[in-house]
């Protein structure tokens, strides 16, 4: 992604941003990414993004964690190291539930976070590409891919005329 040609359009507020996203979509520009200082309601719909698959990953990892937690305790307390606690049988399921629950939460959380990091290319060795000096600031930025930057800039300026833009780079 380092040698990519792109144009960044920055805004002061979310309302012109959403308007601009709509107009760019209409004129079939290819939006690479939208960077905002806080989550903007309705942005994913305006970008017509597909629904995130994070919940499914969470469910799979959670179910896996539940099985691991319950299975490990069952193995430890019935086969590996059977001990009598409070006169209860070796396999006493109610006492396994709290740890099973914790394992579910732990696996689901770690699974979702690592899936998100991998999917959004935030692995420890990934390089930071500064698309625009304002992306870590309080500005709202749309990145648009363009073959020919000069002509695209003029085209986009025309498309977004009437919307409150800070800069097009």
């Amino acid at each position: 992604m380092e040698n990519i040609n792109y144009i960044s359009v920055s805004f002061d507020d979310e309302i012109p941003l959403l308007e601009a996203v709509g107009k760019l979509k209409e004129s079939n520009e290819k939006i690479l990414d939208v960077l905002t200082p806080f989550p903007v309601h309705g942005l994913d719909r305006a970008l017509s993004m597909k629904r995130s698959r994070i919940p499914l990953i969470g469910f799979i990892f959670g179910a896996f964690g539940a099985i691991v937690g319950f299975g490990f305790q069952t193995w430890v307390f019935t086969i590996n190291y059977p001990l009598v606690f409070g006169g209860k049988p070796f396999f006493s399921a109610p006492s396994f539930i709290p740890i099973t629950f914790e394992c579910t939460v732990l696996f689901a959380a770690l699974g979702m976070v690592s899936a998100m990091l991998i999917k959004s290319k935030l692995k420890p060795d990934s390089k930071f590409i500064p698309f625009d000096e304002n992306i870590t600031n309080d500005k709202f930025i749309i990145l648009i891919s363009a073959e020919d930057v000069e002509s695209a800039r003029n085209r986009i300026k025309l498309t977004l005329s009437g919307i409150n833009i800070i800069a097009i780079k």
């Binding site: 309705g42 629904r51 469910f59 409070g86 006169g87 109610p94 006492s95 539930i97």
Partner: protein, 387 residues
């Protein structure tokens, strides 16, 4: 925005027939199958508690949303507001329990030989029991009435001071309710097994109330939308209601398990008798309770799609309502009736007549005012709400 629900004559007649059929059915069951007076009184108590719980849960729903400055619920707030109008009726029905005290509560006629009951006598005696009952209801009715009155004043005048006053009463209600919901559940349900106690019991009953009221709100919205009302309640509002139902069903299971695990683990005979009786003599009820109140809403509403479909949410809500009726059943019946308890014609007919009365009162209240408070400061936010 001045949409009005009209309580048509057919509805009135259908509900009146339902009530009458329920009453005739339960009277018939009393005369022909001779169920024993403790079963009759216990099922009156059960239905009082179940429907009062729905009404109180909806008052809690309103109060907690108002005090948190919530905007999303404004378009549907008339529904819980009308559900609270059942509370004065529940007060009268609860007073009926006076005549069945000795059939339900064994502490009410103890001979003075029982050391445990003697120790609890300062709290568990008949005059104080009814004094508390009157106090709970007086507080609930007064605070809910004030919330509703300020809502009406806000609707008629548009003056925001009524909104703030309504919020003040919501806060007062929450404080009062937090204490009284625990105390009332000790009084009316936990004292059936007067030797037994559980410190989490008040919470457990309270969450049951909130879940049933959420389920009932969803069912009412489903019904009102079917007959063409409430077009501005969109999938976004349904989504939030089902998320609440989903979350609090899980929380109910958490509390159920917290109570069960500690009693199971510590293995103190005085505590384990409670679960022993339910697991031995009420085995099916015991597991159906967990299935309907936890497994069904958990797997039924876990997907986003099912949360956003009113039909699916209403189906799950109906299961949850039945589940919580069964939950109250397993809290009340084993102690009050014992092994002869069963869900027969008496219980079903009595629940039907109570449900008819409850819905009649709600519809009556819904028809008395427009379905949306047009001067509510959060109305605009609620109409444009996205979840």
């Amino acid at each position: 925005m001045d949409e009005q629900f009209i309580f048509r004559k057919q509805f009135r007649q259908v509900l009146a027939i339902v009530i009458v059929v329920g009453i005739i059915g339960s009277l018939g069951a009393i005369f022909f199958s001779k169920p024993g007076s403790s079963r009759i009184w216990a099922s009156i108590l059960l239905n009082n508690q179940f429907f009062l719980g729905i009404a109180l849960g909806s008052a809690f729903f309103l109060a907690v949303h108002r005090i948190a400055w919530s905007g999303w619920h404004t378009v549907l707030e008339r529904i819980p507001e009308s559900m609270t109008t059942f509370i004065p009726v529940a007060f009268l029905l609860m007073l009926l329990v006076y005549f069945g005290m000795d059939k339900i509560y064994h502490w009410s006629h103890s001979s003075g030989q029982d050391a445990i009951l003697e120790g609890k006598k300062a709290w568990l005696n008949i005059p104080f029991f009814f004094l508390r009952l009157v106090l709970y209801f007086a507080g609930w009715i007064f605070l809910i009435r004030m919330m509703k009155k300020n809502s009406n004043l806000l609707m008629n005048s548009g003056d925001l001071k009524y909104h703030n006053r309504r919020k003040l009463y919501a806060g007062l209600f929450l404080v009062f309710y937090a204490v009284t919901v625990s105390a009332s559940s000790w009084d009316w349900i936990m004292s059936i097994d007067a030797h037994w106690y559980s410190t989490i019991f008040g919470w457990y009953v309270f969450i049951g109330m909130f879940v049933t009221s959420l389920a009932f709100i969803i069912l009412l919205i489903w019904f009102l939308k079917r007959i063409g009302h409430l077009v501005y309640i969109r999938t976004d509002h349904v989504h939030d209601l089902s998320t609440l139902l989903f979350a609090f069903s899980i929380f109910w299971a958490y509390l159920w398990f917290s109570q069960y695990l500690l009693i199971w683990y510590s293995h103190i005979p005085e505590e384990t008798t409670y679960f022993l009786q339910r697991k031995e003599n009420f085995r099916i009820i015991f597991f159906v309770n967990l299935g309907l109140n936890f497994v069904v809403p958990f797997f039924g509403l876990i997907r986003l799609k099912s949360k956003r479909q009113l039909g699916v949410a209403a189906l799950v809500a109906a299961f949850v309502l039945i589940g919580h009726w069964i939950d109250y059943y397993q809290m009340i019946m084993p102690g009050a009736v014992g092994e002869s308890a069963r869900i027969g014609i008496l219980e079903i007919c009595m629940t039907i007549s109570y449900a008819g009365l409850f819905i009649y009162i709600i519809f009556n209240s819904l028809a008395s005012r427009p379905l949306v408070n047009k001067n509510d400061p959060f109305l605009e936010e609620s109409l444009n709400y996205e979840s």
